[in-house]
Every structure is written in C-alpha cells, then in structure tokens.
Subunit: 308 residues, 2 copies
C-alpha cells in the first residue's frame, strides 16, 4: 500500500523570515519528503494572516483527524510576528533547554510551536532564526570550537565554545547595501546585475584599512559615474566591497587567528568567502539549506519528549 | 513715484536643489527686496517643468518688455536637471572665471544662466550649490585660509587657501540618517522627534574612536529597543551621533589643528557645532542664508561685465 504524502508527514519544519516563508514536510526518519515556500514573510503579511499563509503551503501534508506538529523559527516569533516567543540569553546552547511558545490556531489539524531566539545583554543584541541554523550545525559537529558567520540582511558573527553560543554581533551590511543601491542617490549609479572582481577586492581592502572613509567613498561612486563614467557593474562591486570590508574590520575580534565557518548557500555566502580569503583569513562554506531543518529537528525531539 | 516690485527688481537669484526651489528678487544695490520658495526641487519636478516652476514663483517680479537676468546654482545644472552646466576643477576660485551656461527659455521676460559646479579629479568628487555658498563666504572674507564644513544631505568639507577651493570631500551622512531612520528596520526604533544630548555625545565618541563598529552599533539600537526598551528619542540621538562621529573621524585631515567654519543655518548646523566641540575642535557657525545670494551676486557681476 502506498502512503499519501499527508500520511508520510510526521512533522513540519518552518523558517519564517522577513521576506519568505519556507516549509518542509519531514517523515518519521527525520528525512525531508517535501518542501515549499512563498513570499508571505513578515514584511508582506496581513495582520491575522499568519495561519492562512501557513495553511496555504502545508495543507497538502495534513490529514483530517490527525494533529501534525509544526515547529517554526525566525521573526515569526518577534513582537511584530505571529506570537512573541522567548529569548535564551548568551552564553547558551541554542534550542537546548529552550522555552517553546505554543501558538493558538483555529485549524485543529496543526499544533504550532515557535522556538526561542537568542539575546545578549552586553552589548545588547538579538537573533531569531540564526540560532536554529547554529543548532543544526552543532548537531553534527560535536567538537566544534570556533567562529561562524551567517551573511544576510542582518549578518551575524558568533563565537562557539564547548557547544555554547558565547557571544555574537549583528551587522546591518545587507540592509545597507539594499538601501544604498536601490533607495539612495546611488541608485542611478549602481547596477542591479554585473560584477567586477578587482574592484570588489580593492574597495574591500580600502574599507578594511581605513573604515571611517567609507561614507566618503560611497559618494565617490556617484561622482565617479558622473565625472569618469564609472560603469554601473563596477560601482555595484565597489559598494559591496566597501560594506563587507567595513564589516570584516569590525568583526576582527571574531576571526583573528581562527578559521571562519560561513553558514550560507547564497551568492552572498560565496562573496564573504572570497572577502575573507582576500584579507588572508581561512574560511569554508557550509551549505545552510539543511541546517535549519536539522536545528528544528533538535527542537522537535525535545517537544515530543515532553520538554516543550 | 513709488516703483512696483517688478520695476525695482534688477536681477533674480535662484538656489535650485533636490528638494526645494528658492528665489530672491535683488535690486540695483544688491539688496534682497523679496523672496519665495516652493517644493519644486529636482526630485519633485516633472520633465520639462522647470521653466513653469520658476515662473510660478518669479512672475510677480517680471515686467512686460523687460528681460530680467536670472542666475541659478544647484542641481538644476546637473545632468538630470534643467540644463547641464560645466564644472570648474579644483583648485579653483568658485564662480570666478567660471563658465556660465545659458538656458533656452520660451518666456522672453527672463534670461536664465546656471553657474558652474566644482569637480575634483582625485579622489573624484563633485559639488553643485555649495560652491556658491563658499564664493559668498569668501566675498567678504578676503583673507580666509582654513576649513569650511557644509552640513546637509551630502555634507561637504572643503579646504580654502589663498582664495582657492583646494580640496573637498562629500559624506553621505544626512542621506544615511534619513534612510536608516525612515526606511530600514530601525524605523520602528528611531523617533521622528525628540533628543537626548548625553546619548548623542556618547555615540559620537564611540563612532569617532572605533569607526568600523558603527554598522554593528546601528543594529544594537534595534536590539536595545526590544530587550531594554531603549526610548525612541534616545535612539534618534544615538543614530545621529554614530553617523556624525564617523564623518568627523574621516574628516580629521580637514579639521586637525584648525578652526572649522560651519556654513549653515539649520538645526543640523548647530549639531555639527556641538559635535566638533565635544571632540575638542574649535568651530563657529556662519549663517548661510545670505551666502547663496552673495555668491550669485559675484556671478551676476561677471555676467553684466560680459564675462558670461
């Protein structure tokens, strides 16, 4: 007898960020048997639209008369999200012994839990979603001591020791790139596509060696376009180099004398990898697609053992 | 016999920026006898709408059968403006021996001239409008040698020696503040009004002493609001302090061992004055309201002497 997808689905993993909602159907052997996504991230969703947006994706995996557990991470647990979930405080093992927050749903086929984010008191910082990727990474790297970097809209650097997230810092690099490239005077100057590796490397090193000059170098992209006809693809590479260079300088305390593990799968992750190599830092990329599900799987195990 | 305003108007001074159009009616004694403004700046104007926008303001100052000279500065002379005007190259005396660009108008009561902006080849930079304020400042400061700072959306620092604009640098500080306060994740965190002087001073000094950390300190405003209930007015003061602190660090080559003359009249000018005092730099403010007209007056003199 062939089981339906709904029958084979044991639980559902959810990564709910600012721009996207991603869902995975997981079977009893912790294998992903289906996946889907939508653009119903926190920025695009209507008030009270969370349950509907989730059901729009996971409905085919649900069975009438069966309650399927849904485990979610990301800004869905923020104050402006579906239901505010707790924060663990550093130092901590992300998702271990964490508080879980149960969401009230109208549909009785799902039971939704949001995992805790992580906060740091001094200097004050927060993460929601990245702690799950880190937990997933640590789940098969028992002996890892070192530094992870998670590139993105709000890039995170984190120090891991003895299976604990000791300390982390958030940089607004990705959001600054978007604001400057698309919403500032530079929008006429910076291409949406195209690249120039040498320009990226040069601007990276400039910002790294003289970080305070970055705000002036930003305007020089505009002036360069007008006076010297700076190509828009080169301007894009230079803008990226300046902002990542500034971040790498500020993150020096994390990567000094260490190898950096970049958790990512986007072209941005490859760019951070190149950037670290350019300034002489050892780095490797770990594909983060499976890390979120692995992290949520740790949370699910605790939930069914009654720890949630 | 009492003369009409139109009869008393000798020429018209125009400062046409990104957000505003400002006009002054000037008599034969170089005195301002009327002024007006609109929000028909370059960002808000329709294509081919320049002549109409100008006439909307200056029509009451025009006489039938008389051609009134109009002298304009600002981004109206940019490539995306009404008519592209030339750039003088540094080192130069702004508006002296500069090229003037005549605009073709349909209305024969006005003869419009746009003054040249200033460009710098290395590092590449441009200004349009600020050169006129600098020329106005120098017109009654014959012996000035020193540094001027013009706060704004794109703040300018300029070194003046022997009546020449030797060198200048543009910082995107004002635009970054606007983008971060109103269009980033910080928009929930940063108030539109309110202030906290101690927070401004502290953030200014942090950014000044460790400029690369600014991108991380930006996100800490968000985290601080969520975790510690950071008040939105304090967040506003801190954001401003971080960005101005970064600029002051980068502008150190300008102000080191010098008094800074701030050309401005806005609350932003007062803030730069405070900031310089906090880091121990001598500074004074020169009200820039009359400087633009004084600068355009130098240009007008050259025009009627046939140098245009």
């Amino acid at each position: 007898v062939t089981q339906t997808l709904a029958e084979r689905t044991c639980w559902i993993a959810v990564d709910w960020g600012s721009t996207h909602l991603r869902v995975w159907a997981v079977n009893t052997n912790d294998q992903v048997i289906a996946r889907d996504w939508s653009e119903q991230g926190l920025n695009n969703i209507q008030e009270n639209g969370f349950e509907r947006a989730l059901l729009d994706l996971v409905e085919p995996w649900l069975d009438e008369g069966v309650v399927t557990k849904v485990v979610a991470c990301g800004v869905v647990g923020a104050r402006q999200g579906w239901c505010e979930s707790a924060y663990q405080e550093t130092p901590c093992h992300p998702l271990q012994d964490a508080q879980f927050t149960k969401v009230n749903c109208k549909d009785n086929r799902i039971s939704v839990t949001i995992v805790a984010g992580v906060m740091q008191a001094h200097p004050v910082d927060i993460m929601r979603g990245e702690e799950t990727q880190i937990a997933g990474f640590l789940s098969d790297q028992n002996d890892f001591n070192g530094v992870v970097c998670l590139p993105g809209t709000h890039a995170k650097w984190a120090l891991i020791e003895s299976h604990q997230l000791m300390h982390f810092t958030t940089f607004m690099t990705g959001e600054l790139f978007d604001l400057l490239a698309n919403h500032s005077v530079l929008k006429h100057t910076v291409a949406a596509q195209g690249w120039q590796p040498e320009a990226f490397a040069r601007s990276l090193q400039q910002a790294y060696s003289e970080p305070s000059l970055v705000t002036a170098q930003l305007f020089s992209l505009r002036a360069g376009a007008i006076v010297d006809g700076l190509p828009a693809a080169e301007a894009r590479a230079r803008l990226s180099g300046l902002l990542i260079g500034l971040e790498l300088k500020a993150a020096e305390g994390y990567w000094r004398d260490k190898e950096v593990v970049i958790l990512g799968s986007s072209s941005l992750a490859k760019l951070y990898h190149q950037a670290l190599i350019i300034i002489g830092v050892g780095a490797r990329i770990v594909d983060n697609e499976r890390l979120t599900v692995a992290g949520l799987s740790c949370a699910y195990s605790q939930l069914i053992q009654g720890k949630g």
